[in-house]
């Protein structure tokens, strides 16, 4: 390993890796006034999308909204480089509405690089960090491959899938980062020397093919939404909606495809035992899908554009580590892709990441104050999951340097809080992906109210402009006023109203009825009631959309709030640091070991650790009570 041979300078926050986590971390720290250096292996790799060319999706869309609410950059970048926008899960309830945008990946990279170059207090430097060393008297020193040493008060490791990474295709395996970028082969060992524990995960990406080699007549078309919605509150809605959207296409595998895979399965490194690391269950390779679900007659594949001008097309769903010749057979067996020309071969990639239970909810290492982890380095998967962690790590690094209390989002506050809580209390056995179903408070944590949930935090950290704050406050006031109006406005019975109700199979009314009660009926919304709701104020559409959700869901939201209060009580019971679980009588052995390993910050978190039973929590609670006396 390279030793430091010259002192290159100082900074307050050093961020290692300029992917989606590192970018948000660096922007947040710099915008909170910290002198920040963002290190990247290659300036060409800043904000790279080595896998799917899209941002958002179920659960992930929620994350992007929350990132935007906290003043993060991902939503703005996605809007600025959007090729197609789709709101998923419409008609299934507002809590699960999820926005996804196809992105121009080169434009996205470019947008992020320009942002870095133009952010005060932020320096973007191409260098491989090989060592992180604790300095005597606090702080760290990071050393580059060329021996340049930088001192930093805090270090955020967001190295993505670059650590000791290996690309695997068939029986070929070589040391490389994603997209054949240079791997980082030194940092793991340096961190291991500090006592940090690593594990090995695996992920993969599908092939890219040339657009002109696709037989579009034999593909299904998937259009974007007619009224596309943007992620960021700062995005100009009119300009965004005026943008022409690109199409995606759908094709399917067939029995021939499956037969090719089955007869070549022995050549898959996943099945031959060459790859031993853990891959994500929600993103299986095509060979996994075929072998694990032999009854499924076909698997759906999406053809997604990689950019505005490029002809490269991403084949969503065909991730694989089969040898190239088999991959080619597989692709050509698919109707519509018979003559597809492959531009990039699919590959699996193995990499080092940490067990995230070594972190606190602030994403700081429990045993290494000032050192933070974020993104795929922490065992997650996905750009959005990475970005939100980067943002939280960046904020917390800045708060630590200022000597302020750390910023922890709870499960009931946000998807981000849920994600981090899952990571640091439960850990993960596979690359962790966000899903709506992971959030028990999902009626409270919708995309539409992310700004409301996080506005004050964003303001406190100075991550949003005063102007945006005022606009939001005015918007929230209007929503509140409209909800109040709906609750106290009575609409008289009328032929017109009953006709409207009859049209959605809703019973008619004979007396006056509260506007809010009408809105609570299935199939009835502001749109239907325009003609009879004559005293309606002239607010922007967003006010009515959000008021409608609040009115319709009021009962359930109230119920969830009550649950959330119980949750708060458990979360507020702090467990003092340095508690000796092995000395607590009555705790089961497994619970002692788990608690001692994870060191939860409060009782609520302790209760979510797998292997800790309700009885253990009772024991712990009694112990804490006795100790307090």
């Amino acid at each position: 390993m390279e030793e430091m041979n010259f002192f290159a300078g100082t900074c307050q926050v050093a961020v290692i890796g300029a992917g989606h986590a590192g970018l948000e971390a660096a922007f947040a720290a710099a915008r909170m006034g910290m002198d920040t250096i963002l290190f990247t292996l290659s300036l060409e790799a800043v904000g790279n999308m080595p896998c799917n060319p899209s941002i958002g999706g179920t659960g992930k869309g929620h994350l992007v909204y929350e990132i935007d609410a906290l003043g993060g950059v991902m939503g703005k970048a996605a809007d600025a480089t959007s090729l197609q926008s789709r709101m998923l899960n419409l008609g299934k309830g507002p809590a699960v509405h999820s926005l996804r945008q196809q992105s121009d990946r080169r434009a996205y990279h470019h947008y992020m690089k320009i942002q870095c170059e133009n952010t005060p207090f932020l320096r973007l430097i191409q260098a491989e960090i090989c060592q992180v060393k604790k300095r005597e008297g606090g702080g760290f020193s990071v050393v580059t491959r060329f021996g340049a040493g930088y001192d930093a008060d805090c270090v955020i490791v967001s190295a993505g899938t670059y650590l000791n990474s290996n690309i695997v295709v068939g029986d070929v395996s070589y040391s490389a980062g994603p997209d054949n970028f240079y791997p980082a082969n030194f940092l793991t060992r340096s961190l291991e020397e500090m006592g940090i524990e690593f594990r090995r995960f695996k992920t993969g990406t599908p092939p890219r093919i040339h657009a002109d080699s696709i037989d579009y007549d034999r593909c299904e078309v998937q259009f974007g939404d007619e009224d596309p919605v943007a992620f960021s509150s700062d995005t100009d809605k009119v300009a965004f909606q005026a943008k022409k959207q690109k199409k995606c296409f759908v094709v399917y595998t067939n029995e021939t495809t499956h037969e090719i895979i089955r007869s070549n399965i022995h050549r898959s490194p996943l099945y031959s035992g060459k790859i031993k690391s853990t891959g994500p269950r929600y993103c299986p390779s095509i060979e996994d899908k075929v072998m694990r679900f032999p009854d499924k007659e076909r698997h759906q594949l999406f053809l997604e554009p990689m950019g505005q001008d490029t002809k490269e097309i991403y084949v969503q769903g065909l991730s694989s580590s089969l040898p190239e010749d088999v991959q080619n057979q597989v692709i050509h067996s698919i109707v519509g892709l018979e003559h597809a020309q492959v531009m990039r071969t699919a590959y699996a990639i193995e990499y080092d990441c940490i067990d995230p239970t070594q972190l606190k909810a602030s994403l700081e290492f429990k045993d290494h104050p000032g050192l933070f982890g974020a993104g795929q380095f922490n065992g997650t998967s996905g750009y959005e999951e990475a970005a939100c962690q980067g943002l939280i790590a960046g904020i917390n690094a800045a708060l630590r340097i200022r000597g302020e209390k750390e910023y922890v989002l709870t499960r009931r506050s946000s998807y981000i809080g849920t994600l981090i809580d899952d990571l640091v209390t439960k850990g993960t056995n596979e690359p962790y992906r966000m899903m709506t179903s992971r959030c028990e408070y999902r009626l409270l944590l919708r995309q539409d109210n992310a700004d409301q949930r996080l506005l004050e935090d964003a303001r406190r950290f100075g991550l949003i402009s005063d102007e945006r704050y005022e606009i939001k406050k005015a918007l929230f006031a209007k929503i509140e006023a409209e909800v109040a109006r709906a609750e106290k406005t009575f609409l008289p019975p009328s032929h017109q109203l009953n006709e409207i109700l009859a049209s959605v199979d809703s019973p008619g009314v004979t007396g006056g009825i509260r506007l809010a009660d009408l809105l609570r009926r299935p199939g009835i919304g502001y749109v239907q009631l325009t003609a009879v709701d004559t005293a309606r104020p002239s607010y922007e559409a967003e006010v009515f959309e959000r008021a409608e959700i609040e009115i319709k869901y009021a009962g359930y939201i109230k119920r969830q709030l009550a649950q959330a209060e119980q949750f708060d009580q458990m979360e507020s019971r702090a467990i003092p640091e340095g508690i000796d679980y092995h000395a607590i009588e009555g705790l089961r052995l497994e619970a002692r070991q788990k608690l001692a390993q994870i060191r939860p910050e409060n009782l609520g978190r302790a209760s979510r650790i797998s292997g800790v039973s309700p009885a253990d929590i009772t024991v712990l609670m009694i112990y804490l009570n006795m100790k307090e006396k």
């Binding site: 179903s437 999902r442 009885a615």
Partner: protein, 461 residues
């Protein structure tokens, strides 16, 4: 909460060939070692676990040999309680077990509270909650049927039923999760119609289990039953038939039975908490008697089963009419068995006005009463589902019942939400239903649904 090492004699008091003492807790071995001397002169630890070691129990102070016995050491967590456990099988007899127990207590163990071994087993994850309850019921069982049922519960029959139901909810919930989290995949998730009928099926199964509560109660904790009839109709005679011994004072003087006496008795496999009441009589002779009648009426109100006695040797009179009025009022919510008494005398009662009560049973002082006919009538009334009883799919306590009712309520709510398109609320409601059901066995839903999603659906986005 107490984390001391506990000890107790586990076999019942009295003489027997063998008695068993049990010690549980982290000091179990240390406690036993102080008073146990293996014949082999090896240490207990040198033996493999769960090996029966032959040796002497020696008193702590005088080092007197008290008994020879077999000692078994179960190392945590491989024991009944999940803690270190030592079992000592000695000769049966209250004196000798008492002596050994006091030596154990002197060596540092404390006396176990009732049910404490099972409670520790539950806390250490060795027993499901229903199984733990089953053990408590088994120990409390007053009848053979109750013991059989509890033993099925202990062996996890109810647990199996609950986990089967929870699998079905899990199936629906995971389908909904997959549908919500993977909207663009062509997953074969359930359609609304299929989902609704699936949930309906689960509700029906829960309902069936809820219906078993009556049977469970009939067998486990007893049905409140009462005997009513005018004074001197033969209530105490009938009552004593159950007892087999004269616990109530039987005389021919009307109104002797002034207070309510209640006894657990059995009719076949059904346990009855049978109350003997004051005779029913129009004009109370004195204040005390009046209180007795009022009490009788209130007891009748709280009961589930009424034995209505009528004197066959006399025509129906005003007091009988009073009884009939009471029965007419409550015949829909209570079970009634009419009994005709004094059948050894000449029949003077016209049975017409009693017809609405159903087939009567006959009782005479001299003749042997057909108790088996009574038993089967009672069993038919309260054991509604023989196969459920056979399978042990019976709930026996209020806690289980409340949770099942909550499950049914939430499942119906989920159905409403699915029907009107609020899938986000429906998915949460299904999760709550699952938690309510799993709570019966002290488990939680956790990551279960997610694991189901991935094992059932081919998800690749």
């Amino acid at each position: 909460m107490d984390f001391s090492t506990i000890a107790a004699v586990s076999t019942p008091p009295g003489k027997g060939g063998v008695a068993l003492l049990r010690v549980s807790g982290r000091e179990a071995l240390a406690v036993a070692e102080q008073i146990f001397r293996p014949f082999s002169e090896k240490k207990i630890e040198e033996y493999p676990c769960r090996y029966q070691i032959y040796g002497n129990i020696v008193s702590l102070q005088e080092k007197k040999v008290l008994d020879d016995c077999l000692l078994t050491y179960f190392r945590a967590p491989h024991s009944f309680t999940g803690e270190d456990v030592v079992e000592i099988a000695c000769h049966g007899g209250e004196v000798i077990t008492g002596m050994i127990l006091s030596q154990l207590l002197l060596s540092g163990a404390v006396m176990a509270k009732p049910g404490e071994f099972s409670r520790r087993a539950f806390m250490n994850g060795k027993l499901s909650l229903t199984a733990a309850e089953g053990i408590a019921d088994l120990l409390d069982a007053k009848t053979e049927a109750a013991a059989l049922l509890s033993s099925k519960t202990v062996r996890g029959k109810l647990s199996d039923t609950i986990s089967n139901l929870s699998e079905q909810i899990l199936f629906a919930a995971s389908s909904l999760w997959a549908y919500l989290d993977y909207p663009e995949e062509d997953l074969q998730t359930m359609g609304d119609g299929e989902m609704l009928s699936h949930l309906e099926g689960i509700i029906a199964s829960c309902q069936k289990l809820l219906d078993s509560f009556e049977t469970g109660r009939a067998i486990q904790s007893g049905i409140p039953a009462v005997i009513v009839g005018k004074p001197n109709v033969g209530k105490s005679t009938f009552f004593n038939l159950f007892l087999g011994e004269e616990k109530a004072i039987v005389t021919s003087v009307p109104g002797t039975t002034r207070d309510v006496i209640e006894y657990p008795v059995t009719a076949g496999r059904v346990l009855l908490n049978l109350a003997d009441t004051a005779g029913m009589r129009g004009n109370a002779a004195d204040q005390v008697e009046e209180i007795g009648i009022e009490k009788a009426l209130s007891v009748a109100k709280d009961s589930k089963l009424i034995f209505a006695l009528f004197d066959r040797s006399r025509p129906l009179d005003g007091e009988d009419e009073m009884v009939l009025d009471l029965l007419r009022d409550c015949k829909d919510e209570k079970k009634i068995i009419p009994i005709l008494t004094k059948c050894d005398l000449e029949e003077k009662l016209s049975c017409e006005p009693l017809a609405f009560l159903g087939e009567p049973l006959f009782l005479s002082k001299e003749k042997e009463f057909d108790f088996s006919a009574l038993s089967s009538t009672v069993e038919r009334m309260f054991i509604s589902d023989e196969s459920a009883l056979e399978e042990g799919q019976i709930i026996t306590n209020i806690r289980q019942k409340t949770n099942l009712e909550k499950t049914v309520l939430l499942l119906s709510e989920a159905m409403e939400h699915i029907a009107c398109g609020a899938k986000d609320i429906a998915s949460l409601t299904l999760e709550s239903a699952l938690s309510a059901l799993l709570e019966i066995d002290g488990k939680s839903a956790g990551e279960k649904i997610l694991d189901q999603v991935f094992s059932r659906f081919c998800i690749g986005k």
